[in-house]
Symmetry: C2
Subunit: 355 residues, 2 copies
DNA sequence: TTGTGTCATGTAAACGATTACATAGTGAAA
DNA sequence: TTTCACTATGTAATCGTTTACATGACACAA
């Protein structure tokens, strides 16, 4: 067994209280005692048991993180931001992924509460209707949402404005001369973000005088991107020239699927992603996308949460700025002449450099 | 304050022992008592405090995970595998990233031990020389390595054979007719995996009668891929036609950098990655790569660790199978006629007319 | 001298659970 | 009836800390 406070106190010839004071940096210790305690600690290799401490102080110094998945780097990035801030304040984090399932949300939140986390940072399916959040409210456990669309009921959240971003995408694509739009989105009811982005896109298009775009929803977990793309681009007379994807992973997959159909990006179809994950700017063509400040979002949320845990009033909702990063996957609308699908393209174009 | 066992026992009119027995599913309870206890629990919304339990049982039911970074999806995947197995056995995980720093390794391991994790799963810089591992051995805390190259001193590890894999890449490229090889690798002393892959590559090439390849090492955290690639492909007479990258992220970036130099993949240069991350098969061209069973690796490691925690003897080292996934980033060696490199940044060069 | 304030330290009661041991009640075997 | 085995439950110690309160020593002022 590892040595305890008691062992140390015995060896140093003092009481446990004195050792505890030493560990916690009380300056009410005589030099001699401090020295003896330090020696005893070193000799035994004593390491304070944080369970005992947490039990007594009723603070575990740990925070739970609940995200849809670690497979999407956008969430991994946020976790990095959280970790950085948390470990500065000596908090540990417990990460769990829900794979976009509401049942899982409730389960993991329960499990984290059992574990006595001091607070949670989470991205839920739908911030306006979430049993998990209701439970947190009921038990008045501090929490902060990230990524979720800022909600009506004023829940603490650090996010961007997905609706505005979606709208901007519409305007940007229209500027490039596009007139036929489509959206490839994760299940709208599995993600309030996706829904908000779609809503903004529709709204923007409406303002510009266009009908709602074609939309295909795919599963987050097992997305059948090829099928969805084939569906969207099936009708040669109504073929979109601009495709907005609800996240970068989908966008990258979509570009591949379009290529398989013999459609070139951006010559035949412009593609816009969402998130701004790192690989997006590594792939060819470089992805045009709406960049979220993921690391910052995580960091800010962690600060917010820790403040709340410490009893300060939360500042949120906090809306961070996003920006559109121009890549090579978008370009001016072509003449939109129907191209037969599946046909190999003999001529090779290089993507136009954006200025 | 949330209700405790005592509150429940009081409300149910029984002793705390009885409530505890009920919670832990002892079958020595009369039906009537069980019912009353259940009602009391429901009425109070009682949630057992796992700190108290852990303190008493000396088992926190949590495991620490230490990986270089969450930014590389390969590690995120492993974490998913770990999570799945862990939560099945009711373990929570605490994830920390070291950003490839040995100092950080020691720090986070210390912090996790303070937190009384029952064991750890980690990927360290160098499994043969790791203060963090030494500390774990010294305190005889159960742990399992993943990704790390199986070590001489027989540490518990679940991994693939990086040397063999590197060798296979050499053979595969030679089969395609390549004769000039290069390697783009993360800092060899920051990653025993990278070192092993390089070693295998060199070994394979030697067996085939080739000299050691050109190599450029880059930082994991702030990799300057473009510069490294420019360096490797600078000499028109010695220009490689085959490039092996120590991970997929580097490979994807390398393909972009090559393109900026006016070199086409796979026509001018074949590129092979390592890891088998999902995006690798989404990008264009699809990446040829050595696929590690990351999720499985995490899962197996978690099982191993939990077994060890439960007192069973570990099975490791365990070497899982890898496989080479043929993509579109490799092809037969071209005629290898020197192509003038394109200046990546056109604004730096004055047009010929002005010279 | 006595009183008072400060300082360094000790004593012991928590925190919320688990569990060895004790006990009382029951029914059946002797 | 006594005894025994069992079952259902209670009592109380314990896990490793923290911390309110108590204590004793000392210095200094009155």
């Amino acid at each position: 067994m590892s040595p305890t406070l008691k062992d140390v106190s015995r060896l140093a010839g003092v009481s446990t209280a004195t050792v505890s004071r030493f560990i916690n940096g009380s300056h009410q210790l005589s030099e001699g005692t401090a020295l003896r305690v330090q020696r005893a600690i070193d000799e035994l290799g004593f390491r304070p048991n944080s369970l005992g401490r947490s039990l007594k102080t009723a603070s575990s110094k740990s925070i739970g993180v609940v995200i849809p998945t670690l497979s999407n780097p956008v969430f991994a990035e946020a976790v990095s931001g959280i970790t950085a801030v948390a470990s500065d304040s000596d908090y540990s984090i417990m990460v769990t992924a829900t794979e976009y399932s509401q049942d899982q949300e409730l389960k993991v939140v329960n499990s984290l509460l059992d574990r006595q986390v001091d607070g949670l940072i989470l991205t839920v399916t739908n911030a306006n209707n979430s049993p998990a959040l209701d439970m947190l409210e009921a038990e008045s456990v501090p929490y902060v949402l990230i990524y979720n669309q800022a909600t009506l009921n004023n829940r603490p959240v650090v996010t961007i404005d997905n609706v505005v971003a979606g709208r901007e995408v519409a305007f940007r694509l229209e500027e490039l001369g596009h007139q036929h739009f489509a959206m490839l989105s994760g299940n709208l009811h599995s993600s309030d973000r996706a829904a908000a982005r779609y809503q903004g896109f529709v709204q923007g298009l409406a303002e510009l005088g266009f009908d709602a775009p074609l939309i295909q929803e795919i599963e987050f977990s097992q997305p059948n991107t090829s099928a969805a793309i084939r569906e969207l681009f099936a009708d040669p007379l109504q073929r979109p020239t601009a495709l907005f994807c609800s996240n970068d992973l989908f966008a990258i997959a979509a570009i591949g699927a379009l290529r398989e159909l013999g459609l070139k990006v951006p010559e035949d179809v412009s593609v816009v992603g969402f998130d701004g994950i790192t690989v997006g700017s590594l792939v060819q063509p470089k992805l045009t996308t709406v960049v979220q400040p993921s690391t910052e979002m995580g960091a800010v949320a962690a600060k917010e949460l820790i403040n709340t845990i410490c009893g300060e009033a939360p500042q949120s909702p906090l809306v961070l700025p996003h920006k559109v990063r121009e890549g090579e996957s978008t370009g001016p609308a072509g003449k939109h002449e129907p191209v037969a699908l599946q046909e190999p393209n003999p001529t090779k174009f290089f993507p136009k450099e954006t200025l």
